[in-house]
Every structure is written in C-alpha cells, then in structure tokens.
Symmetry: D2
Subunit: 317 residues, 4 copies
C-alpha cells in the first residue's frame, strides 16, 4: 500500500479527458472574479507558484510559463530571421509580448485581447509575468475581439502570434481556430511572414484537436509545421502550429540557430532556448507528424472544434 | 463554472509531489497480487489502455510505452553506433529488450529482473508489450538482484540499460542509483560502451532527483549527458541519464542520425524516432542542463535518494 | 495551508451529486468481474474493511454494514411484532437474511436475487457478512428477477424487505421502485404485513428521490413512514420506507420497544439497536417529513426514477 | 464502467481519515484571508450553498447548518427546561446564538470568540447564518481566548455551549478539550446548569476522539451523555457531549419534549426538531454508547487530542 502526504485542502482540477485528472493544490486565492467574458481566478499553487485560471483551466503559472512562451515566440522568430512588426492575439498575461520584446529587431508590437479585466488583473497581481512589458513604448494594446480586430486592421506583420485560450464551446476563443479565420490572418502577413498559434495538447489521448488545427492551417498556407513543449503545470505537452507561405525550415544546426537567435536576443535573457534545446522543441515525435499527415478533418465555421472539460479534445469524430 | 463528464469510479492516483495529483480512471482490474517484492496491479486504464502498476506507481501503459522505451534504447544505441552485447537491468515488462532486439548488430541480450512474478505476469497479461521478445534466442533472463548480478558477472557489454523502478525507500531499486553501483556497472562496459539509466521525472518541481543522479554518474564516468521524453501516462517528462568514458556526441544532423539508425534498425519498426525527433529527445532544455551543472549533491551508500509518494522527489536538501 | 497523509493510491469514488465526491482508499482487490448483470468488485477499503462494489457503487462494507441492516430489518420487525414468514428481494450479500434469522418467530425466509454470481462471490469472499446464513434450513434462495418472482409467487408474507441496488438507469433494479411494483408486492402481504424498502440517500442534496419513493408507496398503502440511518461508508444517510395497511406506530417507549425486540431476538446479538437507538432510527428529521408531505411526484412505469452517478438523485424535476 | 458529470473545477477536500476523502465542488470564492489565528475562506459550494472554511475544514454551510445548530442548542435547553443565561464559546458564525435567542426564557447571551475577523466576515458575507442575531440586545460579544475568558469570568450560566473548531494541533481550540478546561467551565454553571460541547465526528473510523472527550467530561461532571447528528456537508455525523451535575434525562416521550420545547420556542421557527426528531438526536447507537463505556483514555494538559487532516482523529492510541 502506498500513498502520500498532501499539503493542500483546495484542489484546482483539470479534466484532461474523461479518464485523466490532473490536480493542483492551491495555497492561496488572490482574486476570484467573473469578468464580462470569463470566470477568472488568480491563485497560488503549491507546485508552480502564482497562476491564472480562466474558465476552469490553468492558463499560466509563474514557475514554468517560459516552457510555453519561449518556444511559442522564439522558434518562429528564428525561422523568420528578424521580425520587426508583431501582432499578438490573446496573451493578456503579458508573457508573449515580453518574449517578443527581447528581439532587438522588433519595432512595433500590437496586443489584442478581448478581456481587459484579465489584462488589468495580471498587471496588478502577476508582475512576475509581464515584467513591465505592458508599459513598453513599442507596444499598443487593443481590447476587442480578435475577429473584429483582424477584420478592421490595415497593418501588416512579420509575425502573428495567436496565444488564445482553448476553443471551449462556452469560451471566447471558439471561432479563432477555423479555416475562415486563418485565411483572414494570412492577409495581414508581410511576405515571408509567419503565423503561429497555440494548438492544443499533444499527449496521446488528446491528439485529434492538434492535427486538425494543423491540417486546417494547411488549407490556407503553403507551409505548415508543428512544434511542441511539455508544460509541467498543464500535465501535458502543448503543440504550437506554424504556418507561412515561405518554407518553414527547421532542420538547422545548433550553431546556425544560435547565430540567428543571439544576434537579436541577449543570450542570458532566455531560460530554455539555445541551439540544442531549439532542436528539442522542433523535434516533433514521428507519431504526431504521421497523425497530422493522416488527418482528414479540418475546422470551419460549419465545423468548429469541440472541447472537453476546459481542455482540448475533439472526441466527436 | 466548469466541470467534466468522468467515466470511471476507480482512480489510480499518482502523487507527483505534495501539491500535484495525477489520476487515471481504471475500467478493469486484470490482476491484483502481492509479489515477494512489490504490490502489483495489472489494470486497464481508460486513457492509455492496459497498464502495469508496481507499489502504487504506474510503470508502463500499452498506448504510450514507446515514448519511454524508444528514446531509452535508441538514443544511446545510435551514440554507440552498433551495439553487439546489451545488458538490461529491470525492464521486466519486456519493452526494453524488444527495442534492443530491433538492432541487427545485437548478438546477445541479458535481462536481469529481481521479480520473476512481475515478468511472468507481464508475459501472460501484457503481450502487447513484450511482443514475443521473452522467447528470442539472443536473450538470457536472470531473476535476481541487479546488485548481486553485477557483482558476479564476468561478461562485458557495449550497452548497459538500467530500466528500474524509482528509488523508493520501500522498493527494491533503492541502492542502484548510487556512486558505488554506478562504479560497478562501469567495470562491465566494453571500451566505448555506454550506460543509460532511467533517471526520474524532470518536470520542474521534481527537478532535484534527476540532476543528482546525473551528477553522481559524473563522479564515475568521463562523459555524462541527459535526455528526456514526456510520458503522457505519467503526466510528466522522464529524464534518462547516459554515461560513458568516450565522448557522448549528441550534436548530429538529422541525416547522420538516420544513417546510423536505419543501417541497423528497420525504419518502419519505430513509432517515434527518426532524425528529427532524435534531436527532440536530446534537445534537453537549457534550464535543466544548468540545474545539472549547478548541482552539488550526489548519491552514495551514505546518502541514498529519497522519494515522494511512489515518485521521484528528493525534497530533503 | 492544510493537507493530510493519505495511505492509498487507488480510490473508489462515489459521485454523490455533481458537486460532492466521496472516496475510499482501496488497499486490495479481491475480485474484479463482470457478471451477467453488473460490474462487480470485491475490495478491501482502508477505512471500512472488505466491501462489495456493484456498478461503481459501494453496496456494503464489513465494518459498518450493521448501520444499514439492523434498522432495515429490526425496525419493521418490531412494528410487526413477530414476523413468521419473510421475503427478501435483493440482499445478495446475505446480511439482511442474517438479521431476519435472528428473530425466533421466523419460520421461513425467501431470498430472491437476480444475480447468482454476486451471491456466490459474497459467499466465498465475504463470510463476515452472511455468517453462514446462506445455509440456514429456514432459507430458500431464488435467482431470478424480483418482478418475475413476484408475478408468479402464491405465498404470502408477514414482512417483505426490498434490499435492492439503487434505481440506476443502466442497473437491474430500475422498475422495482414504481407504483405498479409496489402494488404487486402488496398482494403478497399477510394481513398486518409490512413492506420495507431501501429508499435512497436522505442527505439534503439527494432529497428528491426518497420523498418520491415514499409518496409512491402512499398511493398503494394505507400507512407509510420513513426512517433513516447514517452509513459511514456511503458518506450519507440512507432512508428506508415502510408501508402497510395497518397503522405503523413508531411512537413507542424505549421499554416497550425492548419488550417486543428482546422477546424474539437475543440482546447481545445486536450492535446498534436497543430501545434508545430504535427511537433514533425512527426519529426522522422534521424537514424530511415535511419534504415527504409536500412531494407531489410519484414513480410509475411511465415515470421511472433517474439516478446520478451510481447514486440516488432525481434532479430532473 | 460508471462515472459522473461533475460541475466544478475547484474542490474543497476534507480528509476524514487516511482512507476517506470528501470533496465539495466550489463555484465561487467570496473571501480568502489569513486572519491572525486562522486561514479563512468563504466560498459558495455547489451542493450546500455558501460556506465558511477555517484551516482547511468546512465549518458551516448555509443549506444544512441547522442539522448542527438545532440539536446543539435545543437538546440541552430542553433538558434544562428553560435557560435564562447562556454562554457560547466559539460559534463566531452566529448560528448558535441565533438558536439560543429563540428561547423566550433567555435573558442574556454571551459570545466569546477568539477571532474577531471571522465574526466580522460572517456578519458581512453570511447573513443567512446569523440572521441579525449579532445585533440582539440580549447579546454581549467578547473577542478573546475562551480560556482567558473563563479564567476571568465571575458570572454564572444555565447553559454553556462550546461550539469550537476541532482540536487541531495547529489550530486555536487545542486546549479547550481537556479535563482542566472542563473543570473550569463547571465552576461557571448555575445549579442544574448544563455544559454541551461539539465533540468530533462519530462515524466509525473517527470514533476514538468522541469517546475520549465524553470520558474526559465524566471525570469532572456527575452526568454525561452523548447525542449526534449527521451533517451532510461534513460527510459524517458529529457528536455532541453534554455534561451536568444533575441527571441528564433523555428518555422523554414525544409529548413531553414538545411541552417543554414549544412552551419556550415558536413551533414554526425550527426546521428539524419536534418530539419525534428530538428522540432521533438522542437515540445514540448502542455501539457508540458501548465505545464510550469502554474508553479509558482521557485528555488533559499532558495528553491533548491529536487530529487528522483538519479532522477529528486520535489515531495515536
């Protein structure tokens, strides 16, 4: 018989699928609020420090957020070579813009988040995340629906980063994972520009959603690719999907990666990424690449993704 | 308010640390037995199929075991170039020897597991794992303590793979993670031989154990390195530590990796590994490599690892 | 911050309602079997000893089963005064007949259980429950559907005890809580005979089902009453509903109760019941009696009870 | 295979013992605060409405608090016959004084709670509990340690009610369950006065603590008795221990109980108690009365109670 000494009486529970439960012991509640769009908690977890929870799903935790944000930003930025203009959809916690602003090539960053209350709460309660990025002179913030913003935007960008919550049926990010939306995004890319989006869990039982998002991108873009990173506080690896009309060449030597990366980013400003670990993030397992190849379902206005329990599972098909 | 439809009433619970709980819904119990050494369950999980549980810790699940066994075997085998003789300590489920036997260079494999009852149960209830490997003519099995075996063995090996259960204080693998043991293993390696060992979870809160195991190896071997793989059914990534007296060169191009690998292993016999994903498994995050560098504690007979709840945590220091 | 030392890695989980979870740490699996009718586990719980689980619901645990079976049998038996013939529907674990056979007035007991495999498993693995009752010469066992048995039975009884599993939609007991069935049972009662049935949880959030069962009985019988007992291993109190065409007089002095009870039952054969605690079991809280009075919904072939997660909740209305 | 639809992602967890877990799905956090003495949460539970949680233990929930407070107050008050002066130790949520003030015999009530922050939070966030009782002209409140208050008090009382948190080692109520304290309380009772105290869970695995508290009282008082009530939101029944130097006669007819009770309390002001259910609350199961009789351990300054996980378990002996 075995067991363990647990040190909390309050557990945030993620239902990864109907047979997998992942729980965080909570030690303190810093904020509990229903915004206009979402249920928001800011809590202190015992294992990963302070964390933001939206609609029952842990979004970001202070102690391991860089496992999400470093690859999300720096992998496509390296593939681009030196982005100057960047659009971030979502990302209201400020981590993504913080990483973007580490690139000395960047001249302008736009952040578009539907939920100003979340951004303001993160600004106040989670300074470890944004680290002042909200007040950078290169940043402009827009509090509106990503879809509306895209429809009305006349600027173009080298890098567009979609850092949205999961496509929950009741959540605000639902329509931003469809072929129609991906097509609109494409019109805002400069030549050689890259679009990257958070694209659901890629642990085995959650697999369908990620391949379908990638496949949906491939209906719109000439090149697509999939990278992934394990996020400890999620209990599962997350996939990011990249898309561009230029080839996405990930087969780079460690040396070449570092040449590009460290000509624009200070070496000691990163916790995870150098040449070796960059190869790790783009070293997508064969089984996942095969699953993407074999996938036939894509998402559109007619067929929107279905989610499970605040998590990315499209079990329907 | 959120929630989910759960589909089980029986939950196997892994206590990853005092603030993290990971649960599998169980749909069937195939075997429940106390062996001479361990509590053993063979169950059907809803998410990852049939699984072996020893002393309250899920060891291996049919649906994702290759995320563990492919990198454990094929990464060091590629670094070696063409192992002919292989010793496997533990690995009673038969997966490790199954992967070893995919190398056409291999002439002899020895499997040493302390617990014959576990091996026999896996043979009967989990044929998806061993796939007949137990009856391969190149295999010899020994049911005895790894320590005793090592002390009495006069053979030498190109590859020694330690696929043991975690160093639980009450479990049988306790002393096989010490400097003394690692030193004895070294005496059984051929020139250019490589030792690789399962080396605990490497998600953030579990970090101490892995760096200490690697650092302990570095007291005995000229070269050590750390690779990792996310195991969905564990809810965390696992580290493998490699050690040798020859340099362990992981900075290989995708092409070079495939030249070595596929000159010995049939391409379609692998689910995960090709050149690209090999780079993924060896693409150890910078933060983990730094933690290993900074680590000062090593394990010896005087200071054995402490575990948490059937899991790898040495919180003591 | 608080927490606790848990001593199990395998948890049987009862979903009492969508917001209440009650879990037993399991220390051993004695039997895991799908019978023709039900999923059956016999396990050892850490808190309440060996237990029988059917279709995900703990039915009976060795260490506290008398909190269920003593009031179920002895309260109606005392109200009757000296039952000679007793019919038990369900109760395949043998506890109910064990209590019935403590009455020296009893001449004949019939046990009707649909699932012989459950009875045989209890006989073998749970002798602490039946204590040999299955082999009493006064007992006759029938393995068939209670409904079929009732339809074909020409005997009459002083006491009919319905000790069925909850009315789960997928379970075998579904139709045995309807007005039609209760009417058929009535035809098998001797004058002055009493029918008693397990009648669902009576903790607040589970309230609807119990009042409806009682109210359904009142459409068929002149007198109905409700008693209750807290079952530790259920985490909730269970209601029993009694019905008869003679008045059910529970307002008895402690002395009068003991006169009746101990003229038929050996005093030291009971763990719970004497005059004082008998008053406890019939001391139904006012709020529950009021809820029964106010209840307007009854169950029939047209409107069968709906259950929640292996538990008694009819949230639908 | 079974399961359930859960409707929350945040679970308050009570560890009833090392093998029993009871969880409430939380739908809203109203307050999260560390007071000078305790960790305090005021939350909305999905099953029992708003609730107060102190040091990881649910104290009181709006939807079923009367199962605790009605028997705690009205049973000893009926046994007394018509209390005029009442002292309440603890009970900072205001429910106990609310019930006390229903007795028209009562002229003065003193409330002594160590933690003014808890009282103020309950006053603001939980008006359903106190229902204005804090502002009754008969009430005087003292925010100090019960022990200090008792030492300095020169008044005497007909009824002293100890409504404290469990004797957790880290909590503030630790020394108020000892022989020494019970002796001091006795000096403040009028002739014929009664002391009643919350006295831990009385479900089987938690049994030791309750019998020891009762037995400790019996070293100081001529008469002691034990009553109990199932609290749905605790998942277990709670025992109350009464003590006096006059006989505590609980063997009363329903009629006699109602004569006393309803000559002082308005009939429709109670949710649970009338003559019949009063007999229920005093109908302590035989097995518990026997356990109390057999108990030999008592608590003193030298041997204070040990608790489990925010719960009442003295497993030590």
């Amino acid at each position: 018989m075995t067991g363990a000494l647990l040190k909390s009486s309050l557990w945030h529970t993620e239902y990864l699928n109907p047979f997998i439960v992942f729980q965080h012991g909570i030690t303190e509640i810093l904020l509990s609020k229903k915004t206009r769009f979402q249920d928001m908690f800011i809590v202190r977890t015992g294992a990963y420090g302070k964390a933001l929870i939206l609609d029952g799903k842990l979004q970001v935790a202070v102690e391991d957020e860089f496992f999400y944000h470093e690859p999300l930003v720096h992998v496509p930025a390296v593939l681009h070579g030196g982005p100057r203009s960047v659009l971030v959809l979502g990302g209201g916690d400020g981590c993504t813009i913080r990483e973007v602003l580490k690139w000395n090539s960047v001249e302008t960053v736009l952040l578009v988040d539907i939920d100003e209350e979340v951004v303001r709460a993160c600004e106040e309660f989670l300074p470890e995340l944004h680290q002042g990025a909200f007040h950078d002179s290169k940043l402009k913030m827009f509090f509106e629906d990503g879809l509306t913003f895209i429809d009305n935007c006349h600027q173009k960008f080298d890098l567009i980063i979609s850092d949205l919550t999961d496509p929950l049926e009741d959540g605000p990010s639902f329509f931003l994972f469809t072929e129609e939306f991906f097509g609109k995004v494409k019109t805002l890319l400069n030549p050689g520009g890259i679009f990257v989006t958070q694209a659901a869990s890629v642990s085995l039982p959650e697999e369908p959603l990620h391949p379908r998002i990638v496949k949906t991108l491939s209906k719109v873009y000439a090149s697509v690719d999939s990278i992934q990173s394990f996020i400890g506080s999620y209990g599962s690896p997350i996939g990011f999907a990249m898309a561009s009309d230029k080839p996405l060449e990930t087969d780079l030597t460690r040396r070449r990666i570092e040449e590009i990366l460290f000509s624009h980013v200070k070496r000691d400003s990163l916790k995870l990424i150098d040449g070796r670990s960059f190869q790790g993030f783009v070293g997508t397992p064969l089984i996942l690449r095969r699953a993407i190849e074999m996938e036939t379902i894509t998402y559109s206005q007619q067929r929107v993704p279905k989610a499970f329990g605040g998590q990315h599972v499209d079990h329907a098909a």
